[in-house]
């Protein structure tokens, strides 16, 4: 019985496919796999917007929105109607074609990455052999759309915001990819389905998730920080800093295009969280072997909601990082840490199982982290400012 509930969507799809003529089966199979993604994740986006506003409100000792619907949970509907009925203003000197394509490309890239994420047992849209690589490749198309948005608006502020956004995204792509390399090394495959399958085994009641190893834990933390930076969330929301550059690269967008940017950003956040869950937190696997009767997709979404809550929590806690602090953090701390993490994972792989490898790998990682942070703090020497053009 638990197996039936677990596989209910797969069985439903098989049953539906029986009613389709053989010639159309590949097409229908593809459509039936894609429709749940298109339905579930925008719904999750709507729920997340209201959860975030209420969560931030409670953190700041106030109610969130509580007028529309019970406890304000129909607020996304009001937001949707508002963004649909707003006038679509395009600056007169803007590049209309590129201006139109930028949010389209963002949403396309954001939706496309969900193809390789396993939502449950046997529930993945496309089981690619190079799934993780596909994820990062398509995810890097977001930067192109940011450039298109910033450039086509023909406004100094949007151009400035676009440059900062792209610089930030490119800087944090390196630690993102490198911290996922440890998992690829340990699993020996680039396929997301295989990676989750390897984590779905248990010793006793404890799972084999990669986050429960020293290199996995470090990788998880680095991946989450880089994911926060990739989707321009606080504390890395310098490109869209609401109090400074107002909306950065999407300042000239109004109405539904703005909503599409919002959607693309949140979908990117969900996608990187889902990838973190797949790589480090065991995907759809239950945390304890006694809990495997709960369906796999329930675990996946529970973990996703937990990570979203952590994102909202961090947003309510931390102030915004300055541009130079951001870049220094990426290149001087996170990149060396991810490289050392890879070394640690390699050592882990070649040492026999036991206490020794835990100790050594943990020592390497912790020591390098402490030394790096100490040296970075010390290098803040204050010297007299020299002006290049003023005498």
């Amino acid at each position: 019985m638990p197996e039936t509930i677990d596989q209910i969507f797969v069985l439903l799809k098989h049953w539906l496919m029986l009613h389709v003529p053989v010639a159309l089966q590949p097409l229908c199979s593809a459509i039936l796999s894609v429709i749940p993604v298109l339905l579930v994740f925008p719904l999750l986006f709507a729920i997340t917007t209201v959860l975030e506003r209420k969560g931030l409100g409670r953190i700041q000792n106030r109610y969130g929105p509580n007028r529309v619907g019970p406890f304000g949970f129909l607020q996304p509907m009001a937001d949707g109607i508002k963004s649909l009925t707003k006038e679509d203003i395009i600056p007169r000197s803007a590049d209309h074609f590129v201006h139109f394509l930028a949010p389209v490309l963002l949403v396309i890239a954001s939706f496309l990455v969900y193809a390789v994420l396993p939502i449950g047992r046997n529930m993945v849209v496309a089981n690619l052999n190079a799934g993780v690589l596909f994820f990062f490749a398509v995810g890097s198309m977001v930067e192109l759309s940011v450039f298109m948005a910033g450039w086509s608006s023909r406004s100094k502020y949007s151009l400035l915001g676009a440059m900062r956004a792209i610089a930030q995204m490119i800087s944090y792509e390196m630690p993102l990819v490198l911290s996922s390399v440890v998992v690829i090394m340990a699993a020996g495959t680039l396929s997301t389905v295989e990676i989750v399958n390897m984590q779905a085994t248990y010793t006793g009641i404890f799972p084999h998730w990669y986050v429960f190893t020293p290199w996995g834990f470090t990788g998880f933390i680095l991946f989450m920080i880089a994911a926060t930076a990739e989707s321009n969330r606080c504390p890395f929301d310098m490109p869209e800093g609401e109090s400074e550059i107002i909306a950065g690269y999407y300042i000239e967008y109004s109405g539904f295009k703005f909503a599409l940017f919002f959607l693309g950003e949140y979908l990117g956040m969900f996608a990187t969280s889902a990838m973190a869950i797949t790589l480090f937190l065991g995907g759809w696997a239950a945390p304890l072997s006694v809990l495997t009767w709960v369906p796999s997709y329930v675990w996946f979404f529970a973990k996703l909601l937990a990570l979203i809550f952590v994102f909202i929590w961090i947003r309510g806690t931390l102030p915004r990082l300055r541009m130079d602090q951001l870049m220094n953090f990426a290149w001087k701390f996170m990149l060396p840490m991810s490289l050392i993490n890879i070394v640690g994972a390699g050592i882990w792989h070649f040492m026999p199982a036991g206490f020794a490898r835990w100790l050594i790998v943990s020592l390497i990682i912790v020591l390098s982290c402490v030394l790096l942070s100490r040296s970075l703090r010390r290098s803040k020497l204050f010297h007299a400012r020299v002006y290049r053009f003023a005498s």
Partner: protein, 202 residues
């Protein structure tokens, strides 16, 4: 320890989050329009015209002297004096305003009209929920909309209204006393004349 500040901050926000559900003192939000904060007595929003008694046209204190219209800084008051006179609360025939319009979209609540009115006819109201969707006259209040009773004035500004009522009653008493004295003097002046006339005819 590295990251200690961040962890302490996160603990603080978590405490805020869970505390806001448990501890009612944390949420200082006033759920308008279901709850409203009480206003202090000296609150002022837009002017209104005071009338004594029950008939707003008869009991209106305003005698259309137009001082408030002249003193109003943004010139939001428009008064048209009447042609005839009607008796006011003390019985004396006075002019009355045929039109008294205040444009409250212009009014800046400076209270100068209240300060200069010699008849305590215009006072400050405390009603602020005056939004309307009529763009072309919804915020232009006419004489009828502006007239509110003295009881209402007592309700919204108790101490002020009590002082005004006392002053008005004082004035009225003085006027009555003067009138009685004049009547007595006239009666006394009329009586010796009548006696002398009566003495002459004898």
């Amino acid at each position: 320890m590295l990251g200690e500040g961040i962890l302490k901050g996160m603990a603080e926000t978590a405490r805020n989050f869970f505390g806001s559900y448990v501890d009612k003192d944390r949420l200082t939000t006033v759920q308008y329009p279901e709850e409203r904060l009480p206003q202090i007595e000296a609150t002022r929003d837009f002017p209104f015209l005071v009338y004594d008694g029950t008939d707003w046209e008869q009991g209106m204190r305003c005698v259309s002297c137009q001082i408030c219209e002249k003193e109003c800084p943004p010139k939001c008051i428009y008064i048209a004096k009447s042609a005839d006179k009607k008796p006011d609360a003390t019985g004396k025939p006075q002019f009355y305003p045929a039109r008294f319009d205040i444009d409250i979209s212009v009014c800046m609540s400076c209270q100068i009209c209240v300060e200069v009115c010699p008849f305590d006819a215009i006072k400050m109201d405390v009603d602020f929920e005056l939004s309307t969707d009529n763009r072309f006259g919804g915020l232009l209040l006419d004489k009828k909309q502006l007239s509110k009773s003295n009881e209402y004035y007592n309700k919204i500004h108790p101490t002020e209204a009590a002082a005004v009522d006392a002053a008005l009653a004082d004035e009225r008493a003085k006027a009555e006393a003067k009138a009685r004295q004049a009547a007595e003097a006239k009666a006394a002046a009329a009586a010796p004349v009548a006696a002398s006339v009566a003495g002459e005819t004898k």
